[in-house]
Symmetry: C2
Subunit: 493 residues, 2 copies
């Protein structure tokens, strides 16, 4: 080769690298962190897709760009992105910007390693183990196993795969064709990942039997029992029940004790999808909502939601101590998991997963937890419950707001009834017209950038708002703002 110099990219020039990163970091602090979390700024800067494409100039070209241009691009990316750390972002089951978690994420990115072996991730192999131990302890287990997955949907899939493997270890090698028809049970309020998972895992969505939920959204154990009987009568083999702790829309907690009784009677794997509600285990006051969770075989818990650890952070926890995870997923690749290493190869946890490279998802949670302690995190949860309660009481006081139900969690679901529909419940087109209100208000709030709240139809109910009270920086003033803003945006409707 012609020369032995590194390429004329920044990579060879530490001063230029530092200058670039300092400049970008300055932009991040000003635009994403300070303005991005300030109530006096917009939560989003709506642009139509075609206009946004023009503004961003996304095309990748032959020639590289100058540092100045790159910085301008960083600014534009942040400017037109939604500020999920903003106190007026109520749109998803995550909100807020925890500075310690962000610090952990920045360190994670700068170290850019993969979580498969102790060899290249010594700190994170040990840290993941410790964080999982802590989460298991909160579930009520003094031993067990677990792993961080790329999101709760995949954590849920893992549970289903483990349960079928435990019952039919052969299926890893021989597949599902030789097995009887397997069925699993979950309530109609479950997250859609259960269906997606069943399809992906080759079981098919028909294998998911949908159990009734009561009017508050909780699984009805009697119907579970009934459905199990029905499935067995059809010749199907029940193998798993997925209960939900904190349903996606209504925030309902399934009655775990009663469900665990049913599972015990029928010898079924109990999975608890606590992706959203798991963090309530940190609160002495509210953890009773998950009573019975210690009887589960597996739990999916997303600290990236209520704990604001940052996407993604999802743990699958197992009561199993028989190395099921590794037996089910392992393939002993000899190029990565050499058995003649000079350290204990049990530390090479990467063969527990169906991924190869796996992101480090534990550091952000660990660092935040170190900074907050159990106590700080508990206060956050309790504060969120208190604010949700405050919001509910305010909703009850105000005209034109109608609760879908008394929430037991942080999903506050209600209709905004615009002036023209107030007191008109008897009109035949009332529900149809009411259902059109939320989309209009959503459009208005997004275009103004004043706040973001999700809405959805649900069963026979027409579109209602779901306010998620999760951002740790929220105050009562933000709750007041939210309601006032809805009234302002909807006064002419």
């Amino acid at each position: 080769m012609a020369d032995s110099e590194a390429l004329p990219s920044l990579a060879g020039d530490p001063v230029a690298v530092e200058a670039l990163l300092q400049a970008v970091f300055g932009v991040v602090v000003d635009e994403a962190i300070q303005k991005g979390t300030s109530a006096s700024q917009k939560v989003c800067e709506w642009k139509e897709p075609e206009e946004l494409k023009q503004l961003l100039d996304l095309e990748l070209r032959s020639q590289g760009e100058s540092q100045e241009q790159i910085l301008e691009r960083c600014r534009a990316v942040i400017r037109y992105s939604v500020k999920t750390g903003h106190p007026r972002f109520f749109n998803q089951l995550f909100s807020g910007l925890d500075p310690h978690a962000l610090a952990g994420r920045i360190i994670t990115e700068s170290l850019n390693t993969s979580q498969y072996t102790y060899e290249i991730a010594p700190v994170f192999v040990l840290m993941e183990e410790e964080v999982l131990r802590k989460l298991r302890a909160l579930v009520g287990w003094s031993s067990g196993d677990g792993i961080f997955c790329p999101g709760g949907s995949i954590s849920n899939m893992y549970a289903v795969n483990l349960a079928r493997y435990q019952r039919y270890p052969d299926c890893k090698q021989r597949g599902l064709r030789t097995l009887p028809p397997l069925v699993l049970f979950t309530s109609k309020e479950c997250h859609y990942s259960i269906q997606k998972g069943a399809a992906f895992l080759g079981l098919g969505t028909d294998s998911v039997r949908v159990v009734k939920a009561d009017e508050r959204g909780k699984m009805v154990p009697e119907d579970l029992e009934r459905q199990i009987g029905m499935a067995e009568a059809e010749g199907a083999v029940p193998f798993l029940v997925s209960a939900t702790s904190g349903t996606t829309v209504l925030g309902a907690f399934d009655p775990l004790e009663a469900i665990a009784d049913v599972c015990q009677r029928h010898g079924l794997w109990l999975h608890v999808d606590a992706a959203w509600g798991g963090s309530v285990l940190l609160s002495q006051t509210h953890r009773h909502l998950l009573d019975g969770i210690q009887r589960a075989d597996s739990v999916a818990w997303n600290p990236h939601k209520l704990l604001a650890a940052g996407l993604q952070c999802s743990a699958l926890l197992l009561q199993d101590t028989s190395n099921l995870l590794k037996r089910c997923h392992g393939s002993q690749a000899s190029y990565l998991f050499q058995q003649d290493k000079f350290y204990d190869v049990a530390l090479d946890t990467g063969d527990k997963v169906v991924q190869c490279g796996r992101r480090v998802d534990c550091l952000k949670l660990w660092l935040m937890w170190k900074a907050q302690g159990d106590q700080g995190l508990e206060r956050r949860i309790d504060q969120a419950f208190a604010l949700a309660r405050y919001l509910v009481e305010e909703i009850k006081k105000r005209e034109g707001l109608e609760l879908v139900m008394e929430p037991e969690f942080l999903n506050v679901c209600f209709w905004f009834v615009p002036p023209s529909l107030r007191g008109k419940q008897e009109r035949p087109d009332y529900h149809e017209r009411l259902s059109k209100v939320a989309p209009v208000l959503k459009e208005r709030m997004v275009k103004e950038g004043s706040m973001m709240i999700g809405y959805q139809p649900h069963g026979t109910r027409g579109n209602f708002f779901r306010v998620v009270v999760a951002n740790p920086a929220l105050t009562c003033a933000d709750m007041d703002f939210l309601l006032n803003e809805l009234e302002r945006l909807g006064q002419d409707l």
Copy 2:
């Protein structure tokens, strides 16, 4: 509730938040970025697991910690982590620290959004589309589909799931039980994710038929044809061939034209696992290694490997224009993918995946590409090839180094033959003793922190080193160092 103030965490105090993040960023720049990429520093700081646990004090406690303590923890995490951006990190199929990609990652983390809807990720929905378009163009497709997945293993699984769904759309609902026994084909040099995927998807590892590879590690198309015939004769239904462009250990490229011919004859889905080798498409000089890739139905390509975009960055690319991805994976959750939104809901790409929340993986790649241009990235690839060539020539010149084969890619595989074994090939225990050398050298290099190179046994071959020449900051001097260092570490063996 008692008060309407936010919690006394940093979240309420922008000045303290900024101070914390600036301090952490300072540590990151000094320790992870500057020292972490400097050849004069160690690539790793080996500690035995028990000692490391003590040093890190991982336990999560009731009380939170002071900012000073937190900063000390950040320093410790970085100190004891492996520096994958270091020029002496040859251990995996990724290495190096691209400053623009890192900048993109930091912005991604600060914005912390999920890639499912235009509503909350307007910039990234459009950006992902553009980046995928660019990657597809390099494959040779002017239209198609695609998505970023959490790693190449899952991209490969997606391909398998899509292929079976395309042939048997019923299986999404009804599962595999009602289908004939499906089989897929890949070479014995394939990545282990094909086996893992087959198990996870319910097909079972038996459904993977292993095709012969030649002595350079390339799939033998005649054996593929033969195996297809055998499977059909057994009553199985072939549906997919997974060819590899850049195998994990040897860096071999399967002959895609010949394989595509076979697929065409038998009506099979052709998937190309180009997780490692895909980036070669950027090089006019070397892209012939992937000739025929435009005939694939799907391609998995990991820019987090050779392009150093940062973990994770893995694209699944599809030639399909019939919305197969969404039909196969979609579940139309009404709480997230509302159909009465005020913008074109085709922009809500989240229903194409089996995840719900999905990280933004496009920005880091896009920003790096904007800064480098096609030309800058092409130079990198060409430079890596040139350096691998240089290393190979040096290996040939030196005593005590024996190539496993002439590499065609950036995996340089060779044995270090220690002085005591040189010229002793005829001894009956030669191979056994040679096989013990790499683990000893590995232990020594890691404990000294001077460099990291992977080794593995392979087929009937005993342990050999696999040097991966991927870090864009490498020079010939680093190659010389590597060989000298091996000699130094092994001179007494």
